[in-house]
């Protein structure tokens, strides 16, 4: 197994932590291909991702996705310098498919394999050269933070070094924000996935019509900057979901029509308000001056708008990668893999185990 070249390495990245089978290829910080096969349609009738269905879909999608990604990039397996794969966090059975496939690929090709952290990969994608991307190139800005919001995660991170120094400042203590969207969309009969459905419906509603609770915002959880409470930068969305359910029930009990648009708008406002206020607070109190927004919920128009506004007034520069790189994909895995190779960090070998709760402090295994 030859070590990969330290500059401009050609890296193939594999992602299978949730319902997207992704294979992406980068050369250094240049994106060559980003092929994604999603099993989202198969989860619609269940109103949420079913792990076993996602895992079955990964198994059948992997080789075709790999083939297509190589074809798009115009490279062969022989040309590749290193392989990177998401080894966690994520759904255990889903991770297993990508990890086994990646190991087989490493074994077959003799290329070094990097087992990497999915959350950090969401940040790594920001380093790819793209028009309008000020983070492009090999260097991350100093004082960088990342706000990751998706169906599987809601986190605020501080990144001192993308390859070996990432800190979790706060996260959801129950549902991910995207999960809350899915559950509320179901309550309102708006279909799956909930994010786009609620975002669209909310545009015609009044966000001030109903006031829903902001989780973990009470002083006992927040504390002060000097004496932080136990959940100063954490989120909770399960109480909000319950509040929406109660609200819908009350309208029904009174025999009134349910004001779906107003509830959607008020729910979305509650989610977006608490996410952005806590994220900006965490940035201000931790000297973060540049914030990357990642994860599928970055597509949400209100989240982008309010994050932009609040970052501007706090003097924080906001970076939002193109949407197809915000959702789960293989290119972000390849992008982080390339950073590890360029930093001279050693590969993981083929004996590691996937870890569904891999901590964000573990950038590579």
């Amino acid at each position: 197994m030859n070590p990969a070249p330290a500059s401009e390495p050609l890296v193939l990245g594999i992602e299978s932590s949730c319902d997207e089978t992704g294979v992406g290829i980068v050369r250094g910080t240049t994106l060559l291909s980003n092929t994604v096969s999603s099993s989202m349609d198969e989860h619609v009738r269940f109103g949420g991702v079913i792990p076993e269905i996602a895992s079955r879909a990964h198994l059948d999608a992997f080789v075709p996705t790999l083939q297509e990604s190589l074809r798009t990039a115009g490279v062969t397996l022989d040309d590749i310098d290193a392989i990177a794969v998401t080894s966690g966090p994520g759904l255990a059975g889903a991770l297993m498919v990508g990890v086994c496939a990646a190991k087989a690929l490493a074994l077959a090709s003799g290329k070094p394999l990097y087992a990497i952290n999915h959350l950090v990969a969401h940040v790594g994608v920001g380093l790819l050269d793209m028009s309008g991307n000020r983070m492009s190139g090999n260097r991350l800005p100093d004082n960088l933070g990342a706000l990751l919001v998706s169906g599987g995660h809601t986190e605020i991170l501080r990144i001192r070094s993308i390859t070996d120094d990432v800190e979790l400042l706060g996260s959801t203590i129950d549902d991910a924000a995207g999960e809350a969207y899915d559950k509320v969309a179901r309550l309102l009969g708006l279909g799956y996935p909930g994010g786009p459905a609620i975002d669209k419906m909310a545009r015609t509603g009044n966000p001030k019509a109903i006031r829903f609770p902001r989780g973990l915002s009470q002083p006992k959880y927040m504390g002060t900057a000097e004496e932080p409470g136990p959940h100063r930068y954490d989120w909770s969305f399960s109480g909000l979901k319950t509040a929406v359910a109660r609200c819908v029930e009350q309208f029904e009990a009174r025999g009134e029509e349910i004001p779906v648009a107003d509830i959607a708008a008020a729910f979305q406002e509650a989610v977006v308000d608490i996410i952005t206020s806590k994220a900006v607070l965490a940035c201000r109190e931790n000297g973060i001056t540049e914030l990357l927004l990642g994860g599928g919920v970055a597509a949400n128009s209100r989240l982008r708008e309010l994050t932009g506004q609040r970052c501007r007034s706090a003097g924080i520069t906001l970076h939002v990668p193109p949407l197809q790189l915000c959702t789960d994909n293989g290119a972000m895995v390849a992008a982080l893999g390339a950073q590890l190779v360029m930093a001279g960090i050693g590969p993981s070998g083929v004996a590691f185990a996937p870890d569904s709760s891999l901590p964000v402090t573990t950038v590579s295994v």
């Binding site: 080789v63 297993m96 086994c100």
Partner: protein, 223 residues
């Protein structure tokens, strides 16, 4: 003819099978436990190839066990086999995993003309299939594979770890009560079938159970 066989329907295992080798098996490995497939399979295959001095160019065919078996473990072998076949540009075939035990039964002394093979399906159930044996020939699958309670199996001698677990309710064969499907026997079976001019199926997994997902019912209205 050199076959790389892989099976992870219960334990993780791989084998190199050749019609030139004694008894057909060049070398093989199998784990004892049923839960570490993702860690041990790739290193195991790597060592297997290195130990036998075999390179990808020497391999003619990859054969994977397609189950039935616990899903996550089963997929790790199929994902590995499919990816190796793609990367090395080799043909890939699948074989029902219970066949591996059936072949071992056929080669044992005193094998009955009709028997069952059973493995652990968890949730108090077994994966099972019925085989028939005509003197000196390969075992023929007569029924199955199925998944169900051990107590509901036909009244025939039962071979394999699935019988061992439920020995109080089935006629478990003592010598086979811990036997799991393994790649060495599976590969030998594949080689024998090919020699007999038979076709092998593709690598589609035999899950036998649905995903367990429930379509949520309509929300209860507050009245």
């Amino acid at each position: 003819m050199l076959i790389l066989a892989i099976d992870t329907s219960a334990v993780a295992s791989a084998a190199l099978i050749s019609d030139d080798a004694m008894e057909g098996v060049v070398d093989s490995f199998a784990t004892e436990d049923t839960r570490s497939h993702a860690e041990v399979l790739a290193p195991g295959i790597e060592e297997l190839l290195a130990g036998a001095g075999v390179s990808s160019a020497d391999i003619d065919l990859i054969v994977t066990g397609v189950g039935p078996g616990p899903f996550t473990g089963l997929r790790s072998g199929i994902a590995t086999a499919r990816t190796l076949a793609f990367a090395w540009n080799k043909p890939l075939r699948g074989l029902m995993s219970l066949d591996a035990i059936a072949l071992e039964v056929a080669e044992s002394t005193g094998a009955p003309a009709e028997f069952l093979v059973a493995t652990d399906a968890r949730r108090k159930e077994v994966y099972w299939a019925r085989y028939t044996l005509r003197g000196g020939q390969l075992p023929e699958l007569a029924d199955g594979p199925h998944v169900g309670f051990a107590a509901d199996l036909p009244e025939l001698p039962v071979y394999g770890a699935g019988a061992g677990i439920y020995a109080e309710v089935v006629k478990a064969d003592e010598d086979f009560k811990d036997t799991q499907p393994n790649a060495a026997s599976l590969g030998q079976f594949a080689l024998a079938l090919l020699a007999a001019g038979r076709e092998l199926p593709d690598s589609t997994p035999l899950y036998l159970r649905e995903s367990d997902a429930q379509v949520p019912g309509p929300r209860k209205r507050a009245l």
